[in-house]
Symmetry: C2
Subunit: 350 residues, 2 copies
């Protein structure tokens, strides 16, 4: 029987501690609640309707996303978080047998999906400042995936850099993963209009405070979105719950609240950057809702473990080139003050 | 670019009309609302929590399912509807390169998943009474999938029949898809205890009136469930929304309400069977929440089209051997009375 089974090394998600009064800065969740309209949806939702299947095309949600980005509905794909969207993209777009390309330091799920679907891949190295070297993406390949801003580094690459890579790769699908884009300076969404081989991926889990509802989406050319939907409907006809569709649609409508939350987080991030610098940390300039930092003297593991004892959770990756870094999610002002104070004490004790 | 893309013929789900006063008997939904506790969950849920990722192991839901079936939590797998569970099983369990086996008439998604993952398959014919011929499953194969009761026929096979197939196939994974089992005479769940190569799949979409929340699950040996979870976590770490987990768990707690709904549907089914027989329909004896019937004189397509004009929706499959049948979901007593009256009029007009 063992020969029949696909064995994989699973992705290990960030731990999900569930303690009262913990400070959870380890999975890049938003510290603020979702738009107030989301609560109204739950309060007024008729539970009886849950007996019915959802719209297979996630109608209300797709329409709101299409309106937000000023594209037709047939250029929008939605899924169960951007992980679902990306996993289905790997299955759909990377069938040439040639290696796909993504940086050596990036979202740690890309190689897991490639392994799962037995897609060969190469991982060009980011330079010493964690920047992409565009020349590395001008070799023969079966597709490209770039997170921008990148995770877990927080680094943003300019449209010029991204477009130079696309220009050299018009025969393969290029995925731009914009999970953190709302905290950064610019989106590459216009490239999905300009190039029919480019798909841009987004999530409701970070800037929209809806990690718990599992909503992600992609915008691309009609042909690419159709191929993706065909695979989707061959996998699961009803991926989104009725509530995800309504809650997601509602959250888009409140642009003012959305902008306020994003601005608060960016402000807290800049404050946190200044404090960390004073304490002897260095980090690439983050354009996300986290900071990827290392200390000049004290090891990441030490700080990680000491913070844990105080019920403050950050993320540490036990991986080549980044094992002395911590990824610190931006929480509320109060959470970050507590965090900085605890770090200060930890450093003083070393 | 086209060479890189996986093109598939997508599954076509039953249409989802959304009209006031329609009678929707086409996708085997439950006519009764979910357990009253589900409404309480929505009413009291703190929308703020949606900013957080769900439990990656769907903790509360898995614990309730494990308690329901008196198994350990590590023998339970949950997914986004049983379609998600089954799709991941095909990917995980059927990697031998040998053809898998399932009946020629069965759930129409099985060949779609096999095609999607490029798994070879053979489809032994059901006999003229839509019964499985166990001998057909005693050839070399890479795995077996049996829906019991079967869809769209509604036919239930005895434990003796199912077990004789398992006994001849201990080296491959045997999946028993029990989507409709709560409306039938017996479950094969004990076979998942007895044989470590057997997995039983269930859904909350039919008997639990929660199609809109997308909840399915499987029970199998620890080793099989671990392999499945490893693939799951390599695909999407957080498949279930926070609300699906809570709503699903709550629904299991109300056994009395669950039994009442199931009994009402079974009673209505038996009434509908008698009425259809009087009108000249024949059908295999359904043990599900639908009846798969053909008329002695009037074609299925004619009845289907005429019912549509009256805003009554049933399901017709344009497929070999079954294109003169209609699959009629059991609704409320009132809905079925209207349905029978309309059919009577249609037949009189022919």
């Amino acid at each position: 029987m063992k020969d029949n089974i696909r064995y994989v090394v699973p992705y290990v998600p960030g731990e999900q501690p569930d303690e009262k009064n913990m400070i959870k800065l380890n999975t890049n969740e938003n510290p603020y609640p979702p738009a107030p309209g989301v609560k109204s949806i739950l309060d007024s939702y008729s539970a009886e309707e849950l007996r019915l299947y959802p719209s297979p095309v996630s109608k209300d949600l797709v329409e709101e996303i299409a309106a937000l980005h000023k594209v037709d509905c047939d250029r929008v794909f939605v899924g169960v978080g951007s992980d679902d969207v990306l996993a289905l993209m790997f299955l759909t777009y990377f069938n040439s047998g040639k290696p796909i390309l993504f940086p050596d330091i990036t979202y740690s799920f890309y190689d897991v999906w490639a392994d799962l679907y037995r897609i060969p891949y190469k991982r060009p190295k980011l330079d010493d400042n964690f920047r992409i070297v565009p020349e590395d993406y001008k070799q023969e390949n079966g597709g490209i995936v770039i997170a921008n801003p990148n995770a877990p580094t927080g680094v943003f690459e300019s449209q010029e850099t991204i477009e130079s890579i696309i220009e050299a790769n018009k025969d393969v699908v290029v995925i731009i993963d914009e999970a953190y884009v709302d905290f950064g300076p610019a989106t590459m969404m216009s490239l999905a209009d300009k190039y029919d081989n480019v798909v841009v991926v987004r999530t409701f889990s970070k800037s929209r405070s809806l990690a718990g509802m599992r909503i992600g989406y992609a915008i691309g050319s009609k042909a690419l979105i159709k191929a993706l939907n065909d695979v989707r409907y061959s996998f699961n006809s009803y991926p989104m719950t009725r509530l995800s569709i309504q809650v997601g649609a509602e959250s888009i409508k409140d642009e003012k609240y959305f902008n306020e939350c994003v601005e608060k987080i960016k402000k807290t991030r800049e404050w946190t950057k200044a404090e960390l610098k004073n304490l002897g940390f260095t980090f690439p300039d983050s354009q996300t809702n986290f900071i990827f930092a290392k200390h000049e003297k004290v090891s990441a593991v030490t700080i990680f473990e000491e913070l844990r004892k105080k019920h403050i959770y950050v993320r540490h990756f036990n991986a080549d080139r980044i094992d002395n870094y911590l990824r610190i999610t931006i929480g509320t002002d109060e959470e970050m003050k507590t965090f900085i104070n605890e770090v200060k004490e930890i450093l003083e004790r070393q």
